[in-house]
């Protein structure tokens, strides 16, 4: 009889790869291969999500990952992250000031009037989620005419280049606690493993590249009642942040490019001030690559919850740093969920041996002599 254990793996993998490619190209002659630009522009929120969860700001590669992984966000972020593993980390950016962000959207739900004003910008928040049947069959001409009309109506006067952060104004009034000092060296989660307890910077970077759905679920548990943050959005901003780096020769900081980012600051219930001072509000901070508002809000809420947990000990899952930070990474969690599809013949055989042996004992057939006893001492094996 043939060797029936596991065989033919190489051929099976080749076949699986071919079928995947077949499904991607199955339109044949009628198909239009997706260009990276089309993905980056028309699926910009998908690209944003992959950029953010992949933890590498490279929009064309994020678009390539989306195309290659046929739209699976977990797989695409994973592919981008794996590419990142191959690149050395050459330098560290200094702390970036987000007030210099080229804003495309900026709102506050805490204050009606904010310095610089509110900008609703690109959001689905107040659009009706009705099917737009006119998109079923579109023509590039409609793209062109819309862009032309839109640009004609854009007012001449430019937006200010600097939007002070809302919380800075209220911090000046003493209603908010002072910001953390800027000179701390942030924890680099790409170079150091999380060994608990971890500093807040480790928590923030872990959340910044976390899987959106996982962050949302944990933050939602806190919003619903497994926690008591009761946040108000002090500011949510989306825009292009100029990235400043020191010049290799002169050391002077210069702009190297810009990254699309979403930033959110929430104000939560007040607490007694330090050393018996007047009570102040507490804050939570969220920021990530790309345009991902739900992610930034969830992160800000969890940041606030974790700060409480780190200080007083967790009383809810969303306040427990280990529980939150070790279960929100999409690459980790999707990988482990997928691994259960691999063969587990050996371990299952071992499980069956235990069950049979236990059952024999329960049925009283005795079996003291079964199995090999084992003497740990002795000669090299």
């Amino acid at each position: 009889m043939g060797y029936v254990a596991i065989k033919g793996g190489g051929r099976a993998i080749k076949g699986a790869t071919a079928v995947l490619e077949m499904l991607r190209t199955s339109e044949g002659d009628r198909g239009t291969p997706l260009s990276l630009d089309v993905i980056e522009t028309q699926l910009r929120l998908l690209t944003s999500r992959v950029l953010s969860e992949g933890g590498l700001y490279h929009p064309p590669l994020a678009a390539l990952a989306i195309k290659q992984m046929q739209g699976d966000t977990l797989e695409a972020a994973f592919t981008l992250r794996a590419y990142r593993s191959t690149r050395p980390r050459l330098l560290e950016t200094p702390v970036q000031d987000t007030s210099g962000m080229r804003i495309i959207r900026r709102i506050s739900s805490a204050f009606k009037e904010i310095p610089g004003g509110q900008i609703l910008g690109p959001t689905f928040d107040y659009t009706l989620r009705l099917m737009r049947f006119d998109l079923v069959d579109e023509d590039p001409k409609t793209f062109r005419s819309f862009v032309r009309r839109f640009l004609k109506d854009v007012p001449e006067d430019r937006l200010p280049t600097n939007f002070p952060r809302v919380v800075d104004t209220f911090r000046a009034e003493g209603l908010l606690p002072p910001a953390s000092p800027r000179d701390i060296t942030p924890f680099d989660i790409t170079r150091e493993p999380l060994v608990f307890p971890v500093p807040r910077s480790a928590a923030l970077s872990t959340m910044a590249r976390a899987e959106t759905g996982s962050l949302l679920a944990l933050a939602y548990s806190n919003m619903r009642g497994f926690g008591d943050i009761h946040p108000t959005v002090a500011e949510l901003r989306v825009g292009y942040l100029p990235v400043l780096l020191p010049h290799p020769a002169t050391g002077e900081t210069m702009e190297m490019g810009e990254v699309l980012m979403t930033e959110c600051e929430v104000i939560a219930m007040y607490e007694e001030g330090e050393d018996g001072g007047s009570p102040v509000f507490t804050m939570g901070y969220g920021a990530c690559f790309g345009h991902n508002e739900v992610k930034a809000i969830s992160m800000a809420i969890l940041d606030r919850a974790l700060q409480k947990g780190m200080r007083d000990g967790p009383s809810n899952p969303s306040e427990d740093p280990e529980f939150v930070l070790l279960h929100i990474d999409g690459v980790d969690s999707m990988g482990f969920a997928s691994h259960y599809k691999m063969p587990h013949y050996v371990t299952f055989q071992s499980d069956m041996d235990r069950l049979r042996s236990t059952r024999r004992k329960a049925e009283g057939t005795g079996q003291d002599k079964t199995g090999k006893g084992y003497d740990p001492g002795g000669d090299p094996a």
């Binding site: 009889m1 043939g2 060797y3 029936v4 254990a5 596991i6 065989k7 793996g9 099976a12 990276l36 630009d37 064309p60 590669l61 994973f78 592919t79 992250r81 990142r84 593993s85 050395p88 980390r89 790409t190 170079r191 493993p193 060994v195 608990f196 307890p197 280990e322 070790l326 690459v331 980790d332 999707m334 990988g335 482990f336 969920a337 997928s338 691994h339 691999m342 063969p343 587990h344 013949y345 050996v346 371990t347 055989q349 071992s350 069956m352 041996d353 235990r354 049979r356 236990t358 024999r360 329960a362 079964t370 199995g371 090999k372 006893g373 084992y374 740990p376 002795g378 090299p380 094996a381």
Partner: protein
């Protein structure tokens, strides 16, 4: 927007062994620490690999950090060189490490990466066995918090783990842990030996080969150095037992239906007639026994 984006050659290429040199150096440092503290779980900044977490990314990072062009690599999964995951991992290493050789022959390999099995043939001083690990910490059975587990390991406090084994004996008359059997290394740290069956646990004890464990998702590396003691947790009056392959009717050890071996770990399955068949799980071992008998192994 990047109209017609073109990747630069640097962006579109990979270095030897995939990982950048800094990453490999960091993992080698973690390995040296792991060898110096037998059984201790050394945290390291596990990198993302281009295959799923849980598919052997920890073992793979260890292998890629120690492999050089003069190495011969064997990769097995469930004891087989030809299972999908073993093929996938081996191909990846071949692709990213030009110059290395691969083999299915246990005695020819300098590095053996494995999931769920230790080869049946005894390994030598010139070999390194790399095991893929899903759960590095045996204490996770009784304590979910990693911070608390770390303290327990430091204090050599395994009382709750032993209590768990004792409770098993009271409830079931048997210790119910089948694979991943907690094993004490060099008289101190208790480790999770990865999901190898109990049958393979004795092979850890005073092994001639260096055994390295890599957990990618959980970001830990640990080791059983050569000639180091490895004792599965047990009680004086309840000795550790390996899987029983005896036929309950005859009391005889079942042989492999292919090579007739009576001293290897067996896979059990049903043939087309619905009858139970037992065969070696280590395919290389089974083939070698057939060669020795003079008959060629059957083609798949």
């Amino acid at each position: 927007m990047n109209p017609g984006y073109k990747l630069s050659p640097v962006e579109a290429s990979y270095s030897f062994a995939f990982l950048d040199e800094y990453a490999k150096r960091e993992i080698r440092r973690a390995i040296l620490k792991a060898i110096s503290l037998p059984g201790y779980q050394v945290p390291y900044a596990s990198r993302e690999m281009p295959m799923g977490r849980g598919f052997g990314t920890g073992g793979l990072q260890v292998t890629l950090s120690i492999i050089g062009p003069d190495d011969t690599l064997k990769v097995i999964d469930q004891g087989s060189d030809d299972s999908v995951n073993a093929v996938n991992l081996r191909r990846f290493v071949e692709m990213t490490c030009p110059g290395i050789s691969t083999t299915s022959n246990t005695s020819e390999a300098t590095i053996i990466q494995s999931r769920h099995r230790i080869p049946e043939l005894p390994l030598s001083e010139d070999q390194v066995l790399v095991l893929q690990v899903p759960y590095p910490d045996p204490l996770v059975l009784i304590e979910p918090s990693e911070a608390r587990r770390k303290t327990m390991h430091g204090e050599k406090d395994y009382s709750r783990l032993l209590t768990r084994l004792y409770e098993d004996l009271i409830r079931f008359g048997e210790i119910t842990i089948s694979h991943r059997y907690p094993t004490r290394i060099n008289g101190h740290y208790v480790l999770d030996p990865s999901p190898i069956p109990r049958y393979d646990i004795p092979k850890l004890n005073r092994s001639r080969a260096l055994i390295l464990f890599g957990a990618g998702r959980e970001k830990k590396v640990y080791a059983v150095p050569p000639f180091t003691s490895a004792e599965p947790l047990a009680f004086e009056d309840v000795p550790f037992r390996t899987e029983d392959f005896r036929d309950p009717k005859t009391g005889e050890r079942r042989p492999c239906s292919r090579c007739r071996s009576t001293d290897s770990f067996l896979d059990e399955f049903l043939d087309t007639k619905g009858e139970k068949i037992y065969q070696c799980s280590d395919s290389d071992y089974c083939n070698h026994r057939l060669f020795r008998k003079g008959s060629r192994p059957e083609k798949p």
